[in-house]
């Protein structure tokens, strides 16, 4: 039995049962498992695959239309893989792994690699997109009405909520355009003198309507043609349209921008900006690879390096102290209740693990109210009206963060310590007792090492978790109190992950700097991975010892 099993476990993918030879006639059909016959499962698979393929093809076509070839090829690859895996007979393990793997590849592995890539770029405010986008944006932003430029009679139209302009050009033809659609000639528009009175598919906006949407009307910019160099039509009074042209001119062959009013020539530099000879730059840039600049900024630029060092130290202190305090309290409670004579242990346990069952963000928000300086329950009721700045004094805020995390985390440690204590065999302790060891000696040399071996991996992952405990920090103090001497919005209780979040500017409180934020994310990853690897190695040693 055991021999047949071991050989079969090596090749369990062959669906052929041992008794197959006598039924040789059905052998072929058995091989085709699971699609050997048109079972219900096969039809379910067919329908699911048809659905996946349909959605996939739609995405491929949409990506083609948008010109997003990265997405297009990724989707084609995923689709091809899916079809091969689910219609081939030789890919049984992959049939089970693929769904998770596909998501893992896109939303975990790719984004991690992409974070690594962004870390080496200057992606962020002012460097948001590609060079051609930047050129277009520059041309548009620097449009001015040139004195004596063409003007046309203009009518404001409404195209299903979106505004449009209709103008009568010099030949008397009507041309219509919207923000995203350059002007084009319209055949059957009705014109009364100089004003357009009706355009099929549009509604002429009344005087009242124009007044209501004055802001939108005066800021609307309708491109003259697809080339941004041709300028646009804008209006101030909703009656006359003026041609605005850019004061900048892009010369494709020389790759330079020229300011036609001053004659200054701007050339692209290494930082993704157009730069004039005197060093002035145009305000819209594009993203370029900047090498290790972001890392040198993090460690070298005094605006970031100072806060970074403080935050790094606090992150370590916070993670280590959090694990330590919650572990000690949890362990203490586990020891106290690891005694069968205590009645009602289940009730105690259920009540004590309540903080663990509350979503962490709710708990942190709740405590931010409890610890409020003037009106919080802790100051107002428990401390009789004391105004202790729990969350606004640098050191007290740190203490509060640790205190709240103790409340949140001790039930977890209590549970794992209880589990570990109960899994220690009784006879080990008894043997120690027979050998004459006292309670303390047994504890020191038997129980504690066994407990640590059992809980060490969990303590490491708890460290890794707290190292990135964004919710607690962000919800409780938002990183505050702010550093008074820093220009960036960082504070005394910020940990690395909340620092990354603030610097990234995703929440809108600071200018966006994706490059620097990604570089910091990579730093965090390296730290957590190193610490975890070292710690796991240490635990292995611990295991070998015992």
């Amino acid at each position: 039995m055991s021999t047949t099993r071991s050989t079969r476990t090596d090749v369990p993918t062959s669906a052929e049962p041992p008794q197959a030879p006598p039924r040789a006639g059905r052998r072929r059909s058995l091989d085709e498992s699971p699609a050997r016959s048109f079972t219900r499962g096969f039809f379910v698979k067919l329908v699911l695959m048809a659905l996946v393929d349909a959605i996939g093809v739609y995405v491929v076509l949409a990506a083609w239309a948008e010109g997003s070839f990265g997405i297009l090829w990724a989707m084609v690859a995923l689709l091809a893989a899916a079809n091969w895996i689910y219609f081939s007979r030789r890919t049984v393990p992959l049939k089970y792994i693929f769904p998770g793997l596909a998501f893992l590849l896109v939303f975990q592995i790719f984004v991690v690699l992409y974070t690594g890539f962004v870390a080496f770029t200057n992606y962020g405010d002012g460097h948001n997109s590609t060079k051609s986008d930047a050129i277009e944006a520059l041309l548009i932003q620097n449009e001015r009405r040139v004195e004596g430029s063409d003007s046309y009679p203009l009518t404001v139209l409404d195209a299903g909520g979106e505004l449009a302009f209709a103008i009568v050009d010099d030949d008397g033809d009507v041309r219509v355009g919207q923000a995203q659609e350059p002007l084009r000639a319209v055949e059957d528009a009705e014109v009364d003198g100089d004003t357009v009175t009706a355009v099929p598919g549009y509604e002429v906006l009344s005087r009242q309507g124009v007044l209501e949407r004055q802001q939108d009307v005066t800021t609307l910019r309708v491109p003259v043609s697809a080339d941004p160099g041709d300028g646009s039509i804008r209006t101030q009074d909703a009656r006359t349209g003026f041609v605005y042209t850019s004061v900048l001119e892009y010369d494709e062959s020389a790759d330079t921008m020229t300011d036609v009013t001053t004659g200054t020539v701007y050339r692209p530099n290494d930082e993704g900006l157009f730069e004039a000879e005197d060093g002035t730059t145009l305000n819209v840039g594009w993203r370029v690879l900047v090498g290790f600049d972001n890392f040198t900024t993090a460690f070298g630029d005094p605006r970031y390096a100072g806060p970074f060092v403080k935050i790094l130290a606090w992150t370590f202190a916070f993670a280590v102290l959090s694990v330590l305090t919650t572990f000690l309290l949890g362990l203490f409670l586990a020891i106290v209740f690891n005694d069968e004579r205590v009645k009602g242990r289940r009730i105690y346990r259920t009540l004590m693990i309540l903080p663990y069952a509350i979503p962490g963000f709710l708990a942190a928000l709740l405590w931010s109210g409890l610890l409020n300086r003037r009106f919080g329950f802790v100051n107002d009721v428990l401390l009789g009206g004391a105004e202790i700045p729990w969350l606004t004094d640098p050191w007290l805020a740190k203490l509060s963060v640790l205190g709240v995390n103790l409340w949140l985390g001790f039930p977890y440690m209590f549970l794992i310590c209880t589990g570990a204590l109960q899994s220690i065999p009784k006879d080990v302790n008894e043997a120690a007792e027979i050998d004459g060891a006292g309670g303390l000696t047994t504890w020191r040399y038997i129980t504690m090492p066994l407990l640590l071996v059992a809980t060490a991996p969990l303590l490491i992952s708890s460290f890794a978790f707290n190292f990135n405990n964004f919710n607690l920090i962000y919800m409780l103090t938002k990183g505050g109190p702010r550093f008074t001497d820093a220009s960036v919005p960082l504070g005394d209780t910020d940990i690395l992950i909340s620092m990354v979040y603030s610097i990234s500017g995703v929440d809108g409180t600071a200018p966006k700097n994706y490059g620097l934020a990604s570089a910091l994310a990579i730093v965090i990853f390296v730290i957590v991975a190193t610490v975890s690897a070292l710690a796991f190695r240490q635990t292995r040693k611990l295991e070998e010892m015992s």
Binding site: Q108, N372, S461, K478, I497, S504, A529
Partner: protein, 304 residues
């Protein structure tokens, strides 16, 4: 301080009885009774913020100061006011996103664990090791790249771009394999292979074995993984905030944070009511599955 007052009260009752009884009382306290004192203190410590938030949610004024007298008044005013806000939309969003993520995570994680546990194929060891490594990089850290990826995806398929709940679920599912496969893998390995083999001899296909035999036997671990995934998703802020932009699409975590961070004073009662309502489903699930969770913790899995 508490320890000093406690003995007198716990000894008080036996004191009325016979002298030897009293001795037993004192010994009882030294051996067992003080543990109850510790227990009561711990329960008060763990529970008072929860009692407070329930009381605050029932207070009439709905301000932070007005909530400090516990149960001074009991009114449903705060709960009624929730109807004027988007709270129920947020709660529904949270529930939908968390449930979908939970189910997807369980299905994908279990399938992958089955493959790693039951099949021997090239790349299996490499696959398991890579999962261990990937696990160390929390998805949350890549929020910028996720933001940029969805920005690009949204240009192609708006349903999968920024501000889409579907996209957020996809993002969460990306983390499904890394975090949970190991826990499930260990559990799958404890199911005897003889069961699969017997079924195989009877002519069952690998998919029949998986769906009808294995999945039923590993139900407890599926419950744990599903629950943990739901809790983690429910509590996530950073990814949800990055992806979901319009207020109607927010989850409870973003919405309640908004109330408290904007006007902590005035919105306190509203927040308390919302917190109570959104904590209850998780709390009930948690207590209901407590046995499995404690078992899962002992097996060494779970969030910290």
């Amino acid at each position: 301080m508490a320890i000093e007052t406690a003995p007198s009260s716990s000894v008080a009752r036996p004191a009325a009885a016979a002298p030897e009884h009293r001795l037993r009382g004192r010994r009882w306290f030294q051996e067992v009774g003080w543990r109850h004192v510790v227990g009561v203190i711990a329960v008060v410590y763990a529970g008072f913020p929860l009692v407070y938030v329930v009381s605050a949610s029932l207070s009439e004024g709905g301000t932070l100061t007005g909530s400090n007298e516990l149960f001074a008044e009991v009114s449903g005013a705060n709960y009624a006011t929730l109807n004027d806000t988007l709270f129920w939309t947020w709660l529904l969003n949270s529930i939908v996103i968390a449930t979908a993520t939970g189910i997807g995570t369980v299905l994908m994680g279990a399938a992958a664990a089955y493959a790693f546990s039951r099949f021997r194929f090239t790349g299996r060891r490499v696959g398991l090791t890579s999962l261990l490594v990937i696990q160390m990089f929390p998805q949350m850290l890549a929020f910028i790249a996720i933001f940029l990826l969805l920005l690009a995806l949204g240009n192609v398929v708006p349903e999968l771009g920024l501000n889409s709940k579907l996209a957020l679920i996809g993002v969460y599912l990306g983390g499904a394999l890394g975090v949970n496969t190991f826990l499930m893998y260990g559990f799958f390995n404890t199911i005897p292979r003889e069961l699969d083999e017997a079924a195989k001899i009877d002519g069952a296909t690998h998919s029949q074995i998986y769906w009808t035999i294995i999945l039923r036997l590993v139900a407890p671990v599926l419950a744990v993984v599903g629950l943990l995934s739901v809790i983690a998703t429910f509590g996530d802020f950073i990814l949800a905030r990055t992806v979901l932009q319009s207020e109607r699409n927010w989850t409870v975590a973003i919405g309640l944070y908004g109330w408290v961070s904007e006007l902590l004073e005035a919105n306190w009662g509203l927040f308390a009511a919302g917190a109570v309502i959104s904590a209850v489903p998780i709390l009930v699930l948690f207590l209901y599955l407590q046995k499995y969770i404690v078992g899962g913790l002992a097996a060494g899995a779970v969030k910290g």
